[in-house]
């Protein structure tokens, strides 16, 4: 259940930024998570909301868009979606490839009052 650690980490960041900005309340948080992580955005939001209880982010929505990340095979140049970060070309079987984008979880914007 490392969704919970992630929810807590996002909350830590959001509260720190809200404090820096002198905000009284956090209303919403927007960002994305790469599909390679195999995590459901609403599960992270669920943990974020639970951790946020009793803080200035209580009741805030965490909206994470699911972002697909492709890889390019260095051998046959085909594009595919790596599973679990594994570079394993389904067309030719090569383990050599390049991930064409960022993986992980990103926070891009916070709405505050």
């Amino acid at each position: 259940m490392h969704e919970s650690s992630l929810g807590k980490e996002v909350l830590r960041l959001v509260l720190a930024r809200a404090d820096e900005e002198g905000a009284a309340r956090v209303c919403a948080v927007r960002g994305w998570i790469a599909e390679t992580e195999r995590l459901a955005p609403e599960a992270i939001a669920f943990h974020f909301e639970a951790h946020a209880r009793g803080t200035k982010a209580e009741g805030a929505r965490l909206d994470l868009a699911l972002r697909w990340v492709e890889a390019e095979c260095k051998t046959c140049r085909s594009h595919y979606r790596p599973e679990h970060h594994l570079l394993l070309c389904p067309a030719c079987g090569s383990t050599e490839g390049t991930v064409l984008g960022e993986t992980g979880l990103a926070v891009e914007a916070i709405e505050v009052e």
Binding site: F46, A50, H51
Partner: protein, 429 residues
């Protein structure tokens, strides 16, 4: 006045754990494993919610074993309501659980644990020299994902599970479409077990108390009594009379103990040791071929127990699908009533115990959830006590790797990531 703040923050998605080992002279004086676990506020989250909402709420607690959370919740609430779905609904639930075991064990065995044994940084590095095994592992895992998708409505957090059964039962054709991939995955899982049996397993044994469900006729998923290798044999409703959870100052995770005795182990090795006689013919034959039979007290061989359970779950999934006839209704219903119910099922990583008290309207008044990771925490620490002198003698990077491998034997929820542990070895003169 609302305003938007731009943020540029990227987090790596990984677990979070720390291990401190203190020595006095050459003897360990403290071993403290700190694994972050959601404290009890998820139980608070459930209070006041309608009992019918509970399966969908608890599914979000863990992305790796949502089915386990749903099944324990359903069984506990159905216990309170006095209903026991049987027949095709029961078979479909076992099939859904097979799917979760296959995908969870597939992820753990091939992506996380096998690289430890073969000396690779992670599965990405392992794939360069063992491409065919990683590909087989992915294929096995996909076969499990396909079951969860077909029955649960989607891959990661199933939405088709409800109190009393399912919102919709699959057709015969929908399930039959899964058979080719499941049959291939079963053959691959048998090959993989033979391959893993040749790994170099560290020499390590301890006198564990194993705890798992035991059913009169089946390898356990969702039903049976809670039994142990040291004489416990109880109904799920009696769990609190025999087990307790203790707060420890160094961790947010509670430590579960057998009252009057101490740590215990749940999970694949416990199930294997306590239920070997209920394995299907195919899984049992595969285990016997590699001379892997109870009693086994080497936690590193939990890898083999997972391999055997992969074969068991794939074999059972095929048998359920081949004999499937859709239920007349996808679920049975019951009016809410004031009651307390108990449910215990076997998540891939061990027993998951739930208790719910509801009022007359079916609103949850109290919830208690004991996940497998907190049940195994003390057991993991005891293993690390025994391992501590060897760790202290290793270079720090190697010691960290070996400690991670020892923690990963238990597949705690944290180890969804390859490297998750910050190791500190402190010496008191």
């Amino acid at each position: 006045m609302a305003r938007t703040i731009k943020v540029d923050y990227l987090a790596r998605v990984e677990g979070e754990g720390a291990l401190t080992i203190r020595f006095k002279g050459d003897k360990p004086s403290a071993v403290e494993l700190r694994i972050f676990e959601p404290p009890r506020f998820f139980e608070a989250f459930l209070r006041g919610r309608a009992h019918l909402e509970v399966p969908d709420i608890v599914a979000r607690i863990c992305g790796i074993c949502p089915v386990a959370y749903q099944m324990s919740a359903c069984h506990a609430i159905e216990d309170a309501l006095g209903i026991h779905p049987g027949g095709a609904i029961r078979a479909l639930r076992r099939l859904l659980y097979c799917g979760e075991w296959i995908e969870s064990h597939g992820l753990h065995v091939f992506m996380l644990h096998a690289p430890d044994f073969l000396g690779y940084e992670d599965a990405i590095a392992m794939a360069k020299n063992h491409r065919e095994w990683v590909a087989r592992g992915l294929g096995i895992k996909k076969a499990g994902n396909a079951i969860v998708t077909a029955l649960g409505g989607r891959e990661i957090h199933p939405i088709n599970v409800k109190i009393g059964g399912f919102y919709r039962a699959p057709t015969v054709a929908e399930l039959a479409a899964l058979l080719p991939d499941l049959s291939r995955a079963l053959e691959d899982a048998e090959m993989c077990l033979e391959w893993m049996a040749k790994f170099d397993f560290p020499a390590f044994e301890r006198d564990y108390e194993y705890v798992a469900l035991r059913h009169p006729d089946e390898y356990p998923f969702s039903e049976g009594r809670i039994v142990s290798s040291k004489g416990i044999d109880i109904d799920a409703r009696d769990y609190e009379a025999h087990f307790a959870e203790e707060h420890v100052p160094h961790s947010t995770a509670l430590h579960a103990v057998v009252l009057g005795r101490g740590d215990y182990q749940c999970g694949p090795l416990a199930r294997f040791n306590l239920n070997f006689d209920h394995l299907g013919e195919r899984a049992r034959a595969a285990a016997e071929r590699i001379h892997f039979v109870p009693p086994c007290n080497n936690p590193y061989k939990s890898l083999l127990a997972r391999g055997v359970e992969l074969i068991q779950a794939l074999d059972e999934a095929i048998r359920i699908i081949e004999s499937y006839t859709p239920p007349e209704a996808p679920a049975i219903t019951a009016a809410p009533r004031r009651a307390t119910g108990y449910g215990c099922t076997e998540a891939p990583r061990g027993m998951l115990w739930h208790k719910y008290t509801m009022d007359e309207a079916g609103l949850v008044e109290d919830a208690r959830i004991v996940p497998p990771t907190s049940q195994n925490q003390k057991c993991i620490e005891r293993d690390l006590w025994q391992l501590a002198p060897a760790l202290a003698a290793m270079p720090h990077a190697a010691a960290t790797r070996r400690a991670e491998q020892a923690v990963r034997n238990f597949d705690p929820c944290i180890s969804c990531s390859t490297h998750f542990l910050r190791l500190s070895i402190e010496r008191e003169d």
